[in-house]
C-alpha cells in the first residue's frame, strides 16, 4: 500500500470505475458470443492463412483492371448520387428543424417556444425515422422493388443519409454564433435572408467538412450494399470472395484505401480553404 503522504485521493474512484466498466462489459461480451480462441484453432488458422496468403501479389492484369475501374466508378457514382439526393431532402429539413431561425428566440435571448415548435418536432421525428433504419435494410427493400443494380443503393443512401445530414446540419446551425442572424432579423430581414447572411458564413466550414466525411461514409456504405446486389465494388468483392480469389480482393481493398485517402485529402483541402 502507498504511504499516506503519497496517496492520490482519486485512486479509489478510478479503481471502482474501472471495475464497473468490466462488470458492464462482461455480459456484453457473453451476449455477442465473442470467443477469440476460435481464431486459433488449427483448421480455422489454416483457412485464414491460405486465404490471406493468396492476397499477394494483388491482381493487376489489364482485363481485371478494366473491371475494377468500372466497379470503382459505379461505387463513386452511387455514393455521389445518393448524397446529392440526400442533400435535396436534408437542406430544407435542417432549416425547418433548427431553432436557429426562430423569430421568437431572436427577441427572448434564445428561449424560443411557441407554435413553431409544432413544425420543428414533426420534422425532427421524420429525420429520426429516416436514419433509424440502416441503409442495408433499405437496400434489401429496394433491390426487391427496383431489381438488382445501383439504383437500389442510390435510394438507400439518399434516405438514410438525408436523416443524418438533416439532423447534424440543424445542430450546426444552432451551435454557431447567433448574433449576426438576430441582428439581421431585428433590422427587418426575412428568416431565409438572415440564415444566408448571418448563419451560413459561420457554419459553412463545418457543414462542408461534415458533408465530405459523410460522402466518404457513403462510399463505404455503397460497397457494403454491393454485397446484397446493389452493384459496384461491393458486388465484385463478394464475387471474388466466393471464388476464394484473394489476389482480386486485395487489389479491390487497395483501391478502396486510395478512395478513402482521396476523400480525406479533399475534405482537408476544403476545410483549409473555408477557415
Amino acid at each position: 500500500m502507498l504511504k499516506a503522504d503519497a496517496r492520490d485521493p482519486a485512486l479509489l474512484p478510478r479503481l471502482l470505475l474501472g471495475l464497473l466498466a468490466l462488470v458492464v462489459l462482461w455480459p456484453g461480451i457473453q451476449l455477442s458470443e465473442l470467443n477469440p480462441s476460435v481464431l486459433l484453432q488449427a483448421e480455422n488458422r489454416q483457412q485464414i492463412a491460405s486465404f490471406t496468403a493468396a492476397f499477394w501479389p494483388p491482381t493487376h492484369d489489364v482485363q481485371f483492371m478494366a473491371l475494377l475501374l468500372d466497379a470503382t466508378l459505379q461505387t463513386l457514382a452511387v455514393a455521389t448520387a445518393g448524397m446529392a439526393l440526400a442533400l435535396l431532402l436534408a437542406a430544407p429539413a435542417a432549416l425547418m428543424a433548427s431553432r436557429a431561425l426562430s423569430l421568437r428566440a431572436a427577441s427572448s435571448n434564445g428561449r424560443g417556444a411557441g407554435w413553431s415548435r409544432w413544425v420543428r418536432m414533426p420534422v425532427r421525428g421524420v429525420l429520426i425515422f429516416l436514419r433509424s433504419v440502416p441503409e442495408i435494410v433499405w437496400a434489401l427493400l429496394f433491390v426487391r422493388a427496383v431489381g438488382l443494380g445501383p439504383t437500389a443503393g442510390v435510394l438507400a443512401i439518399a434516405i438514410t443519409y438525408s436523416g443524418m445530414l438533416g439532423k447534424v446540419y440543424a445542430e450546426i446551425f444552432e451551435s454557431v454564433d447567433q448574433r449576426p442572424a438576430h441582428a439581421l432579423l431585428h433590422a427587418g430581414a426575412g428568416r431565409l435572408s438572415a440564415f444566408f447572411y448571418g448563419i451560413l458564413p459561420n457554419a459553412a466550414a463545418e457543414v462542408v467538412s461534415y458533408t465530405v466525411y459523410r460522402w466518404e461514409c457513403a462510399i463505404r456504405a455503397s460497397v457494403v450494399m454491393g454485397f446484397v446486389g446493389a452493384g459496384g465494388l461491393g458486388q465484385q468483392i463478394d464475387l471474388s470472395m466466393r471464388m476464394f480469389a484473394g489476389a482480386e480482393v486485395a487489389s479491390m481493398l487497395l483501391t478502396f484505401l486510395v478512395l478513402v485517402m482521396l476523400a480525406d485529402g479533399f475534405s482537408r483541402l476544403l476545410r483549409w480553404r473555408l477557415t
Partner: protein
C-alpha cells in the same frame, strides 16, 4: 391623437424591461419627435443598451407601452413587425458580423429587410450595389476595405462597417449603441458628425448612447441621462450642468472617505 403619435418617432410610457431576474429598465417614459437627435448617457450598466434594444423592437417591454414610428411593434403580426423593423436601424457596439463575410456583403445586408429573398440570394452571388456600398464606406474612410473579410478588420474599423450598414439601410429611425467606443478621438468625432449630418439631411431621427459626455454635448441638441434603469434628466444639451453630471455618475467616482462606509450599490458593468 393619431396625428400626435405619428409625429413621434419613439414613445415610451412607463416601460420596464427585465432580463430574467435583473431589472434593466423601470418606468421609463419619454417621447422623441421625428427628426430629433438625442444622446443617451449614463454609467455602465445603467440600461442604455436595454433602452436602445427596446426602441429597436428587438425585445418586448416587460411592462408599460412602446410606440415606434406610430405603431405598437408588439401588437403587430410578425410580418408587419418585420416591415416596421426594416425602417429602424441599430448600430451595435460590437457589430455582429461573420468573420468570413466580406465588407461589401455586410454593408449591403442592411437592406435585406427591403429586398425580397431572391434579391438577397442573388446579392450573395454577385453584390448588386457595389457603388452604393463604396459610397457609404468612403464617407467613413473605409472605401479600400470593400472586398476585405470582416474578420481582418480592427475593432474601430468594424464599428465603422456597422455604421455603414445602418446608413445603407436608410432607416427612418437610426439607433446607435456606443457607436464610436473603439475609435480614436478624431475618428469618433468624425463618425458622430457624419451620423448627425446624415440624420439632419434626411430628416432621420437619431438616438445614440455614448460613454463620452463631451461628445454627447458637442453633437446632440438633446441629452437624456439614465441611471439604474431610470431617466434621471432629459433636457437640451445647454442645460446639462456639472451638478447633473455629478449626480449621474456619482457612484462611478470611487472616492469614499475612509470614515464613511459608502452605500456601495453593486453595479454590474455590461459587456
Amino acid at each position: 391623437m393619431a396625428a400626435t403619435t405619428s409625429a413621434l418617432a419613439v414613445q415610451l410610457h412607463g416601460a420596464g424591461l427585465r432580463h430574467a431576474a435583473v431589472r434593466a429598465l423601470d418606468g421609463v417614459s419619454l417621447a422623441i419627435r421625428q427628426g430629433e437627435r438625442v444622446a443617451i448617457i449614463g454609467p455602465s450598466g445603467a440600461g442604455k443598451s436595454s433602452l436602445l434594444h427596446l426602441m429597436a423592437s428587438a425585445v418586448p417591454p416587460s411592462s408599460g407601452s412602446l410606440h415606434v414610428l406610430g405603431e405598437q411593434p408588439w401588437a403587430l403580426s410578425a410580418r408587419a413587425r418585420q416591415r416596421l423593423r426594416a425602417q429602424v436601424g441599430l448600430v451595435h457596439q460590437a457589430p455582429p458580423l461573420p468573420p468570413r463575410q466580406r465588407v461589401v456583403t455586410a454593408v449591403l445586408a442592411g437592406r435585406l429587410g427591403q429586398w425580397g429573398v431572391l434579391r438577397g440570394l442573388f446579392n450573395l452571388l454577385y453584390p448588386s450595389d457595389i457603388s452604393g456600398a463604396r459610397r457609404v464606406l468612403a464617407e467613413l474612410g473605409l472605401a479600400d476595405k470593400l472586398f476585405v473579410q470582416c474578420g481582418q478588420l480592427s475593432g474601430g474599423q468594424l464599428q465603422r462597417v456597422g455604421i455603414a450598414r445602418a446608413l445603407y439601410q436608410q432607416p427612418r429611425l437610426l439607433l446607435a449603441d456606443e457607436p464610436v467606443s473603439a475609435m480614436d478621438p478624431v475618428l469618433a468625432d468624425h463618425s458622430l458628425a457624419l451620423l448627425n449630418r446624415h440624420a439632419q439631411a434626411n430628416g432621420v431621427t437619431l438616438v445614440a448612447s455614448l460613454h463620452a459626455v463631451e461628445l454627447a454635448l458637442a453633437h446632440f441638441p438633446r441629452v437624456i441621462g439614465i441611471r439604474d434603469g431610470h431617466v434621471l434628466f432629459d433636457c437640451p444639451a445647454e442645460a446639462v450642468s456639472e451638478q447633473l453630471l455629478n449626480d449621474l455618475y456619482a457612484n462611478e467616482h470611487l472616492a469614499p472617505a475612509p470614515d464613511q462606509p459608502a452605500p456601495f450599490s453593486v453595479q454590474m458593468p455590461r459587456c
